[in-house]
């Protein structure tokens, strides 16, 4: 077999190959529909164009999905992230709107710190419910998902808080090196999470807790603390995402900020290759997943697919993405080829140890 062929084969086998392929196909389809789709021009000294929009808009989703990846990898799930986005955004905007000088950097930083602090407390609340009291994650976080929206509205008294603060706006709309600042924030967060998990042993410990909680406990891991920690991290990520979402429109809307972002985040995580059953997690995959989802949303708008059929379109794309990613599906086409490895029959994904819920 030729060397190039071999290299192609290893590339095909790479975990991120298919998500990348899907992304490329979507971009290509858009470009065919509207040749200017990928065009980037310079406008006011920053880059301007649809690809930039996609990057900027996916930043909050990437953040939320990063935290969600860790949570999911411990075998949990965090439904409260959307509410947390709303709460943190509302607190920050409320504080800024009450301040005499909204453009004061100290004011903005205080607002951010306050909001982040509250989010951390709420994350800790989730963590305690799951790891200490032992409530199933989906229900434990559902409590905050429901009550959190109420809290956000309580903070804003049901109104949309509009602010006019340059520094705060910058979180969502500012630019750095001609690119939106939000991208850098998301990237920094991703690198931070990656460093925290992969440069230390945290990643492995999280994966082992998700893979088999009892075995991890017997190996001397304080599983409870790890589980607690991931919910706090998830809340922190959600809070920053909340800042971006609200800064993007310079207003906090307790109702709509981060609405249904939890579903998108979970989708991104799963598209990225992390199993909902817990265990191995893939941060790179998650980021790609988030990009795919945002591209999908943008495609709906860019191709002006009618709102009535937009969801049908989404359904088709999601299924297509998952199918071509599924090894079992691809194996159906490869089976006849000699020499190719056979499909893993009892799939490793399902091979779950018994973990008391």
């Amino acid at each position: 077999m030729s060397d190039a062929g071999n290299r192609f084969r290893t590339m095909l086998g790479h975990r991120l190959f298919w998500p990348v392929a899907v992304l490329v196909v979507m971009l290509a389809a858009n470009t065919i529909y509207r040749p200017g789709f990928l065009a980037i021009e310079v406008n006011n000294g920053h880059l301007y164009g649809t690809p930039i929009d996609i990057l900027r808009l996916s930043a909050p989703l990437i953040l939320v999905a990063l935290g969600m990846t860790l949570v999911i990898s411990t075998g949990g799930i965090d439904l409260s992230v959307g509410s947390l986005c709303a709460i943190s955004g509302a607190i920050a905007c409320l504080y800024i709107s009450r301040a005499p000088d909204q453009n004061n950097l100290v004011t903005v930083l205080t607002a951010l710190a306050m909001a982040l602090g509250v989010a951390l407390v709420l994350g800790a609340w989730n963590g305690v419910l799951v790891s200490v009291i032992g409530i199933q994650p989906i229900i434990a976080t559902l409590i905050l998902m429901v009550a959190g929206r109420g809290l956000a509205q309580l903070i804003a008294e049901g109104q949309i808080i509009t602010i006019n603060s340059g520094p705060y706006r910058a979180i969502g709309l500012g630019h750095l090196l001609t690119l939106p600042l939000a991208i850098f924030i998301a990237l920094a967060a991703a690198l931070l999470v990656a460093a925290f998990t992969r440069r230390t042993a945290l990643g492995m410990i999280v994966e082992s807790v998700g893979g088999n909680r009892e075995a991890s406990r017997l190996a001397g891991i304080r599983s409870g603390r790890v589980v607690f920690l991931v919910y706090v991290v998830s809340a922190a990520c959600a809070a920053i995402a909340g800042f971006m979402m609200t800064a993007n429109v310079s207003s906090a809307d307790g109702n709509n900020t981060g609405l249904w972002v939890e579903l998108d985040a979970i989708l991104a995580v799963v598209i990225g290759g992390t199993s909902l059953a817990g265990g191995r997690f893939y941060l790179g995959g998650t980021i790609l997943g988030a990009l795919i989802i945002q591209t999908l949303t943008t495609t709906v708008y860019a191709m002006n697919i009618s709102p009535q059929t937009a969801l049908l379109f989404k359904a088709v794309v999601v299924i297509a993405v998952c199918l071509i990613q599924a090894p079992a599906f691809r194996a159906k086409f490869r089976r006849r080829r000699p020499g190719a490895p056979p499909p893993p029959q009892p799939s490793p994904q399902r091979q779950k140890e018994q973990v008391p819920a």
Binding site: G158, I160, N248, S250, L259, Y301
Partner: protein
């Protein structure tokens, strides 16, 4: 009145009891509506039983059932959707409790199931917007390209405003809706959709947004694209909340059709009347107006919500 409250001030003190089921608290408009009703009830000495249905028709039906059990004197509600109220309204009728609809109508064939409707006419709001546009662009030459930011797909205000607007602009063939997409009534949605509109369509003359919030979101996208809102693109919205009025006064919007949330006083009035058995007209529209930039500057200082 025969009410059951958890103690405190309630009880059989002869106060009229009104059960009100609100759609939810999905927007600033809605919150203003709720506040207006609460304040008016307190002022009119009416005991209000308030329930938030969180945008679910099921919840509203449940709430109405519970009001019937509690034997409130009058039931009022803003239906989440138009259809599907006959069964529960029949139960209310059998229990002898009069019903008032607010804000949104129901399409029941049996008009005896409710006493009256109080609210705005979404179709009319769309129509007023369209008519203003026709008037405003009557001298324009060449096609006028319109993009539309719809509300939540399938919701009554979105459907009706779209309909009314389309009816009105049909009068002038050069007015063309070249793109129409849902922005979910939110600022973020409006902004994201507008960004794509701007990239896909080099020449956009008019933006019609189904509410102020989406229009405000779109403003940001327009500015970022290097265009001047209100000048390069004519912007028409509906609602007239404070932020929207501000934008109008600042010359960023061009026209707003009002949709007033301040139904409280009228509602309390009606409640007293139907409870006393007085005849009321079957349909009462809230007093609403439209605003141009000049009118907005005048009205802005006394805007409450």
């Amino acid at each position: 009145g025969n009410s059951d409250t958890g103690g405190g001030d309630g009880g059989d003190d002869g106060k009229l009891v009104l059960g009100f089921s609100q759609v939810g608290a999905e927007s600033g408009w809605r919150t203003a509506n709720t506040n207006s009703i609460k304040e008016a009830a307190a002022e009119a000495g009416i005991e209000l039983k308030f329930d938030d249905a969180q945008q679910k028709q099921e919840n509203q039906i449940k709430a109405i059932r519970n009001y019937i059990q509690q034997k409130v004197d009058v039931i009022a509600f803003s239906p989440v959707v138009e259809s599907g109220w006959d069964t529960v309204l029949k139960e209310a009728k059998d229990a002898g409790i009069p019903v008032i609809l607010t804000d949104r109508a129901v399409d029941s064939a049996d008009k005896s199931l409710y006493k009256t409707f109080l609210g705005s006419d979404f179709v009319k709001e769309g129509r007023l917007s369209g008519e203003w546009l026709v008037e405003n662009k009557k001298d324009a030459t060449g096609d006028v390209n319109i993009v539309e930011l719809q509300g939540t797909t399938g919701s009554a205000p979105a459907n009706d405003r779209k309909k009314g607007f389309a009816e009105a602009i049909a009068a002038d063939p050069k007015l063309k809706v070249i793109a129409s997409q849902s922005g979910d009534f939110t600022r973020a949605g409006g902004k994201q959709v507008m960004e794509q509109f701007l990239k896909a369509h080099p020449k956009i003359d008019v933006l019609f947004a189904h509410n102020d919030d989406m229009g405000l979101g779109a403003l940001e996208a327009i500015t970022a694209a290097g265009k001047e809102p209100g000048k390069d693109i004519t912007i028409i919205t509906i609602d007239a909340v404070k932020d929207g009025m501000q934008a109008l006064a600042d010359g960023k919007f061009n026209f707003i059709a009002e949709c007033s949330p301040l139904l409280g006083p009228q509602l309390m009035d009606l409640a007293k009347k139907v409870h006393a058995g007085e005849e009321v007209p079957p349909r009462i529209e809230t007093e609403e107006t439209t605003f141009t930039q000049e009118q907005a500057k005048e009205a802005l200082p006394n805007r409450k919500y």
